[in-house]
């Protein structure tokens, strides 16, 4: 991950100031200066990378220790290597409830992110490409939705879902997760500039319906933005802790974040849970890292487009 950061670092000035950095005939003085500032920037980046990676390192090291050694040995270096033993114990604990939680999280975040992306993509595309009365009003209302933190909505949502008798169900977490105001915003901006009107005209002339046009032509052009939206939403749902906390009571529906939190609050009473919380936390970030690494290429270009416009 550090290579990514540095890679970005060296690329950034080039794309921001194309005339200077990409000009091979730049003077020796400015080259020296840029080397100096580059080293400085690298140093700061390096320090911050370290700062962000040390907790993960600690988590990894702690996960590899037995319960006894956890508190008695150096936190940043290994004692006896028990990682796989610990993972095995965690998976076996209470008939593998942890795996169930992981599966739930993958379902909430994966499926939720996918549906959210499709809805946001269609919505943004419609707002960008169709002219209809109230378009700006709708867009502004959606934009307003970006400003309302999800946490503030959790309690009203709970009361609403209570009326519909849907609390403590899969839908209680899933339905609120498939809405992404920010996704609508991003896809609208992106669709406006990456999907040419002429192309839509062309497909209309060829006899394709609007929906078919969207799914066969436009969606491909919007791919970078859609991947960004998916990634954002995936991470947001995965980390959304407050909604499950309020909505769910049955252990078999918990996402992994909430399950680990519940364990963590019991540490005073049941200290045996401590290693499980640690290993669980380590394992629970793996899907995030995998998703991020797989999709970051798209993500960067999509984010860049959104932010520059």
């Amino acid at each position: 991950m550090s290579s990514t950061t540095l890679d970005q670092n060296t690329k950034q000035p080039r794309s921001l100031k194309p005339s200077k950095a990409s000009d091979p005939s730049a003077s020796a003085g400015s080259l020296k200066e840029s080397l100096l500032s580059r080293t400085g920037a690298m140093l700061i980046m390096g320090i911050f990378t370290l700062y962000f990676l040390i907790p993960i390192w600690w988590l990894f090291v702690a996960s590899s220790k037995s319960q006894g050694q956890l508190l008695t040995t150096n936190g940043l270096w290994f004692a006896d290597f028990n990682l796989f033993q610990n993972i095995g114990d965690l998976f076996a604990y209470r008939d593998g409830v942890f795996l169930r939680w992981m599966g739930n999280s993958v379902l909430y975040a994966g499926l939720g992110g996918l549906v959210a992306t499709i809805i946001a993509g269609m919505c943004g595309y419609a707002l960008a490409k169709y002219r209809f009365p109230g378009r700006e009003v709708i867009f502004n209302v959606v934009l307003g939705g970006v400003l309302v933190p999800a946490t503030a909505l959790a309690l009203p949502l709970f009361l609403l879902f209570s009326q519909a008798q849907l609390t403590n169900t899969f839908w209680a977490v899933f339905l609120p997760s498939i809405v992404s105001p920010f996704g609508v915003y991003l896809t609208r901006i992106f669709a406006a500039q990456s999907v040419p009107d002429e192309l839509i005209e062309a497909s209309r002339i060829d006899g394709a319906g609007e929906i078919r046009t969207f799914f066969t032509v436009s969606i491909r052009l919007m791919a970078p933005a859609l991947v960004t939206v998916f990634l954002f939403q995936f991470v947001a749902i995965w980390n959304n802790f407050f909604l499950p906390l309020i909505m769910l009571r049955s252990e078999e529906l918990f996402p992994v974040t909430f399950g680990l939190y519940a364990w963590n609050t019991q540490l005073n009473q049941v200290p045996e849970l401590r290693p499980y919380v640690l290993i669980g936390a380590l394992l629970s970030i793996i899907p995030l890292i995998v998703t991020f690494l797989l999709l970051q290429r798209f993500w960067r270009s999509g984010l860049g487009t959104g932010s520059l416009k």
Binding site: G68, L71, S162, N168, T265, Q269
Partner: protein
Amino acid sequence: MQHMKRAAGVVLLATLALAGCSATGGGDGTAADADACKPSTGKVDLEFTSWIPGIEDAVALWNSENPDIQVKVQTGPNGNSGTYQNFFNQLKAGNAPDLGQIEYDALPNFRVQDGLEDIGVCSEVAEAKDSFVPWTWGQVTLGTDKSVYGVPQDSGPMALFYRSDLFEANNIPVPTTWAEYKDAAKKVRAAGGYITNFSQSDINQFAGFVWQADGQWFQNNGDEWTVDLTSDASKQVADYWQELIDEDLVSTVPAWTDEWNNAYNSGNVWSWNSAVWGANSIASGAPDTAGKWSVAPAPQWNAGEEKAGNWGGSSVAVFKGTDHLYEASKFALWLNTSDESLTLLNKSANIYPATTEGLSLPSLQEGVEFYGGQKIYDVFADAATQVNPDFVWGPTMTQTYADVSDGFKAAVTGDGTLFDALTDGQKSTIDAMKAQSIPVKG
């Protein structure tokens, strides 16, 4: 199910409004209703929310023995970490579970918000009174004569955990009074350690000290509350610990952190005034010190007395709106009084029973290796009977704990005193109660 609950709620309200007129229909009624607690016909499903690990095993046992009363366990984080707030939300939305785990210090809050059924109307519950350690029963009657708002589950009588090896090696006698404890603290400090760590965040531990000194923080005469965080007993306890802090005789690292564990594990801190469940906390937090600890009765304020404080403990309460008061209270009683259930809970979650019989469970008769084979639970069984039955919790403990804890944190850094924190906490507690329209004196 939900509709029925809501309907029952409406019936209940109507009953209350008519005050005395007989209610028609509906499975539940008011405390005045003689047959408010009658069995439902047919199979009954109950929901029970608890965060106690392993409680599913006890419930599974119940379900296998009671095919007509099936209990479904729901879980979540411990009370103050979210489950209490959830309970309040669910009560508001009318979909609270039938039963819930509630710690003693949170019960008055639920009572004030009218979230609890009075299970005292069930004769089985009223009859069970004598099976419980008397003061735990006081924790669930909330100072009333006949009302019962939960079945006591566990308790946390306090005693003194100490490093017997270090005390012996340095020729320090085990303190039996708080004055001796301070003398011992000086000797321990001279030997390079601290006698204990003063926790800035465990206000319920501090309350346990006040409890032991026969102090009262709250009282409720039925009409209004009295808040008294600054009584003589509170002042005595606060001044005592303030002295220890001022003279650098106790460490003040934040409790329940790695730093705190390490202070015990490395032998820097030599004793802990804690509850019975603390036995497990030391064993897991300070594994290198295995075999070197012992447990002695808590130091007393006056030589020769036998008084103990309490830290923690919880009950199983029945929430307003349940359709099955009889079945719910029957289950709650079984869960917290039967040998098989208490044994399971003790094994899976170190639950220390609140019944007198439970104190002599076989698993509580054995010597504990971590404590050099000492039968430590004998000490706690004695302590359990020495707790003052009159201590009452207030209806806004979360707020009181938070405010006093803020003051304690300031006090250990030299900004104000512990007693200042209690004085401020007294004021903010009264303000908070007034803000919630809870009748309070002052």
